[in-house]
Subunit: 415 residues, 2 copies
């Protein structure tokens, strides 16, 4: 265990302190970075969080703000990815207790909903896929109830009459992603985390260089600490000092998403998280108790943040096909974010040792990035895992396949 | 001619001045009110403009901010309305000189475009309608050139291949509605118009009662002037002191509209104003030189300002049907406004004398409202007409059918 209570200090440009002056610096103010900072601080560590800032989903770079907050361990994308599925199952087990502790520490609700996910089908091909999903969920011990069309529409009366059937996954959860991030921030602040506004540009052993917001170049500074945790999402690929093979493995995957609202006097049209495949497009609806209904999302291998007319059109077309009453809702927001994808779709968690860097045995650089579509689901167990690493312990075994060293191995094999 | 140079004064609540202390108060800060205020001030009058304020199209009540800025005298809605067509023809003749004077006075461009309107058809029924429109335009001396599909796509290469043919109306204009309002404000300010932030609640002979922004009730005040011009758009129906039959004749017609933007590197996909009927829906595209493309608009007999998922979907569906490349544009804004419609679709312009009100021979209350879909087109000739009334002259004869007294007659006939 390292000395606790030491202060992280800011030094002016050019003066490199010889000894670490603080405990932990976390680079990245999204749900991953903020959860890590909170958990590290509540054990008594001195923690500084470097956050580029901004809560406007139109300009902030945080995928957390654009997300929907669906928490289901099984999705199309992990169906065949056993390691990721194991990790997601570990995460969904952990989430409720973590969330409860968070709400208490923050004094805020995260909008957790426990009604589960109803996946619906519109043709026989989709129905067959749902049957495979049901069997699979049963095989791994998860609840899944096959429902006919009538049962689906009894649960969700506004589903289109063309609904053929569905599966109710009763164990799935959802939170309001923005309230969840707000709660993490409040809890982190209450635990003593100091937030520094700025963008990290380089991460060395014990040192982070950053520029102040606005990036005029004159606002550069250096922070030092014994441990540095890199949780900068897709921006990790632009961070000097992160090993090349890790930077190269991170790919931004653009997602566009809509936020609708029920106008006064219209009852909420959905209660469950609803997933549907409409004309080949995977679509989801996440309802909130405050009347918001999130509809998402595109998956595009692009790194711009433009909301496009085509994506808004396609999402609304598919949404009104699946749930026609969506037409009556208020169109509150369309936004785009960049998910931190990786070359194997798995997150990256563990110590990194870049070529040419020495380690002093006590100092560490830890990466916790690449959470792709599962950032909120994985935030709790990521914070646990980083806390373990900081204490010199091993993270939960579900994390073993997601060590950053795997990309170096891939590089060596393919070289 | 009245005394010029007298000041309009604000008195505290409850103190009613006995004599008018100013020249002109204009109620309403949209394009109609601001154009009237500018033209009245530039002849030397002391003018106060009462404007509820706000330039955010999401919260401001001004239809001007939500509009597209199309300036065509002939549209579906005036095809059979001869009086309104005559007025619109008068307005389109007047507009360019007025606009030029405005740009010089304001030192700002209004974004006037002169490429004209291309109306396109997708089936034989629409084509026949376009032929009727062509003949009609010719019969009233307006330019109209019938084009086959190849010619349409030569003018606008991004039109859908299914375009059957079209008509080019070379004399139609467009302006950027927001820049036009900004120019009117600048010109009004330069001419000495004083703007008071507030919402008029009651208009009496020589007196306007208003509440300060926020409407706490404690911010009430009274303004006095010899002439009061009511140009409050659809809100005129809520204004105490306006004759009941006029208030009852005004109906808000909700319109929802989209603003798209060309991303960097994509050439502008349209040059002309394009009108299309897609599956029975009348649709228009108004391109701006700065890369904005306005797509509108719904017409709904509702008085809420909600942007709905259904309207956004329908506009994008029809727009991508007519011009598929619209999908590639950035979705910049969706907004909703309330057009000031009337029971006969015509504007209302002239002095009003409510029952029970005395007139002193010199004072006047003039109404200039109900401009429905033609506010920007009619703004120049409305300002001219009000200037004439203030001088004791008659407005242009095209205004004769639009006297507010017509609603009293309708009332008597139907009583």
């Amino acid at each position: 265990m390292l000395a606790k209570g030491a202060r992280v200090t800011v030094t002016s440009r050019g003066t490199t302190p010889r000894t670490p002056q603080g405990d932990v610096i976390v680079v990245g103010g999204g749900v991953i970075g903020t959860a890590i900072a909170w958990r590290a601080a509540r054990t008594g560590r001195t923690v500084t969080l470097i956050d580029p800032g901004g809560d406007d989903p139109g300009t902030s770079d945080k995928a957390s703000l654009v997300a929907a907050g669906m928490l289901g361990p099984v999705s199309e994308s992990v169906f065949g990815e056993q390691d990721l599925l194991n990790l997601n199952l570990h995460a969904i087990d952990r989430f409720p207790a973590f969330n409860q502790e968070l709400e208490e520490a923050a004094g805020k609700s995260t909008g957790l909903r426990t009604e589960g996910t109803l996946a619906v089908a519109y043709d026989s091909g989709d129905l067959a896929a749902l049957d495979r999903l049901t069997s699979f969920r049963h095989s791994i011990g998860l609840a899944a109830e096959r429902l006919d069309a009538r049962q689906c529409r009894r649960l969700e009366p506004f589903l289109a009459p063309s609904t053929r059937g569905g599966v109710l996954a009763a164990g799935d959860l959802s939170v309001d992603n923005r309230r969840y991030l707000a709660a993490l921030r409040a809890a982190a602040a209450a635990a003593g985390v100091r937030t520094v506004r700025g963008t990290a540009t380089k991460v060395l052993e014990g040192t982070v260089r950053l520029t102040a917001p606005g990036g005029s170049g004159t606002g550069e500074s250096t922070l030092t600490a014994r441990h540095i945790v890199i949780a900068a999402g897709h921006a990790t690929r632009a961070l000097d000092g992160v090993p090349e093979e890790v930077r190269g493995a991170i790919r931004p995957v653009k997602g566009q998403i809509l936020r609708l609202r029920h106008p006064a006097g219209i009852p909420h049209i959905l209660t469950h998280t609803v997933r549907a495949i409409v004309q080949g497009h995977d679509l989801y609806f996440v309802p909130r108790e405050d009347g918001e209904l999130v509809v998402g999302a595109t998956q595009e291998e692009r790194d711009d943040r433009d909301v496009t007319a085509g994506a808004v059109h396609d999402l609304l077309r598919d949404a009104t096909t699946a749930v026609p009453a969506v037409s009556e809702l208020v169109f509150a927001e369309a936004s785009a974010g960049l998910r931190p994808g990786t070359s194997d779709n798995g997150p990256i968690l563990g110590p990194v040792f870049g070529s040419g860097d020495g380690t002093d045995g006590n100092a560490s650089r830890i990466i916790a990035a690449g959470h792709f579509r599962n950032g909120i689901l994985l935030s709790a167990v990521t914070a646990d895992a980083v806390a373990a690493l900081l204490d010199g312990d091993k993270p939960h075994q579900a994390w073993a396949p997601f060590h950053p060293g795997r990309f170096q191995k891939i590089r060596e094999i393919t070289a």
